[in-house]
Subunit: 341 residues, 2 copies
């Protein structure tokens, strides 16, 4: 691991993206999403992904210039053709437009297809809640998760994020319906560590504790049959609203060559006023719950990530050596290109 | 257990409710909700609850006549004061009105407070999907679930239901964010069976396998920290939209005396047309996934309940002896009252 300052990370990503033809503002946004994941301790959604984004631009399956094409199907339903834009550029624009509409009509949905990977959902949920609105965000992905009792990956990791404004600031949850992320499988492989039992199947559908075998197999849903039901429900709901591909037909969230055909859904709601203090007080009560045996404290979701972010903003970020080496390479190549006559 | 015909169950509940002052149509709806739960194998939401509903009417905390008071906060946001009406009467009316609006504006939300227990969410999700719309339904309850790592119940069982129309009919999931229902704890107590480890805490916050101790304690969230995050997210989201009470301040979903102050949220969305065939084909692919070792088949959520319902509609329903005895008592008392001069 290498400790890198936030400033150096940010500049490397920004320069690399601009070198790939992304304009300043879009590069800032994409960088911010990746950086925020690193700051909060979600490296699977961090700078690890920078190279693939740049490769996808080079391969013509990520368009650095579009913000997506908007079509209001009806007053509160925005259909967005992402036109293979950069995930955060298309998604943030759609979320803002849907948020503005939600202030008028009470609730609005942005249903996005043909958009690249939008990164950590918590980022959007926090921004929406910060603006005083409630968010429910869903996105699908390539099939990585097996059905409960099934031997083959048929579902995306299908996360949900919820953001709710409270007096003490945004409350945010963001969780995949898989038991773990493929990033955690890769991390175990990298460290030569075995997987806990029950995490994954190999390519033949047999339970495995070998992370290298699991890479070609499937991850379990979280919470057994219930997590599977949720993941399946989100997969169907997203496609019903976006027309996205389903299950094993989904491409473009992990590879560098194929168009992205998953879907993103942002539901934005204008909440009742005057609830913020009650929500904050309740969270404080939950936080102060006496821990059960074996636990030190009750954690409010999102708060550990926020504390990590505060610490890392000043102390810097521990990046895997190869991730930082690669960022420097991408940065230096962009700088050399720029200085070339 | 006693095998009772659907007709006899239905008539007993209908007569008992009408005897309590519920009009014919509302009694049919309330009966249908309870019956449907029995048919699908969810007795915790079945006729077990009939007596408490009738007691609540008698105690003035359930109003057999109101359908709730509607206020459009904005074009797509319906605020409903349930006026302590019967849960299904208020909720079904609100869901229908929100559904009609969703056909115009694309998406609408009904946010309901001061409403009695609405029963099995799957019933509404199926009806909405049957009508060609997508549903996301949330409801809160009295605090029965402890935070992950916490020793005291602070959250409701906070279920979510999702309904999506497909070519082959409605796809429906309906799951509590608790690991099990309080009904299952009571069922173990009734049978003198121990609880599996990890299900529950006693009143002192210690892990217990004694169902009688668990009744006064707390149930675990499903899926550890993730299920806890979801349950907490739903609790906050519902209150942000409805102004409902939170955590241990919630009353009226289990007792017979106190007003109900939890919240119900129905989000109804008009989906893209033309997705139904792709959704059905995907579900068929998931169903046919080769089972993993130790499993016979991959189950699509909701389908076992539907199969049970089909069988029980002709064969009748196995009711716990005391539940059926009680229904007969309530029916006979209503009939005697009616025939009294």
């Amino acid at each position: 691991m290498t400790l890198v300052s936030v400033q150096d990370c940010r500049r490397a990503a920004q320069v690399a993206l601009e070198g790939a033809g992304v304009d300043v503002e879009a590069a800032q946004l994409q960088t911010d999403l990746l950086l925020d994941a690193e700051l909060r301790g979600v490296p699977s959604h961090g700078f690890l992904r920078l190279q693939r984004i740049i490769e996808r631009i080079g391969n013509g399956v990520a368009d650095a210039r579009t913000r997506g094409s908007h079509h209001w199907r009806s007053d509160s339903f925005l259909s967005v053709d992402g036109q293979q834009g950069l995930g955060p550029v298309v998604a943030q624009h759609a979320a803002e437009v849907a948020g503005a509409r939600a202030r008028q009509t009470g609730i609005a949905v942005a249903a996005i297809n043909h958009n690249n990977h939008i990164g950590m959902l918590a980022w959007y949920a926090e921004a929406i809640a910060e603006a005083g609105l409630v968010a429910i965000i869903l996105t699908t992905s390539e099939a990585l998760v097996h059905p409960f009792g099934g031997s083959v990956a048929q579902l995306g990791t299908n996360p949900i994020a919820i953001g709710v404004p409270t007096e003490a600031g945004p409350f945010v949850i963001d969780l995949a319906t898989s038991l773990v992320s493929m990033g955690e499988i890769h991390d175990h492989a990298h460290r030569g560590a075995k997987l806990p039992e029950g995490w994954a199947l190999d390519a033949e559908g047999q339970p495995t504790t070998d992370p290298n075998a699991a890479k070609h197999g499937a991850i379990a849903p979280f919470g057994a049959a219930k997590g599977y039901a949720l993941g399946l429900g989100f997969e169907l709901l997203v496609t019903a609203l976006t027309g996205a591909a389903l299950g094993r037909a989904v491409t473009g969230t992990l590879d560098a060559e194929r168009p992205s055909n998953k879907g993103d859904v942002f539901i934005v709601i204008d909440p009742l006023s005057g609830q913020g203090a009650a929500l904050s007080a309740y969270l404080e009560t939950v936080r102060k719950t006496r821990p059960m045996p074996g636990f030190d404290a009750v954690i409010i979701p999102g708060e550990r990530g926020r504390a990590r972010k505060a610490a890392r903003l000043s102390a810097g970020i521990e990046l895997a050596d190869n991730v930082w080496a690669n960022m420097q390479k991408l940065r230096d190549a962009a700088l050399a290109e720029k200085e070339a006559p």
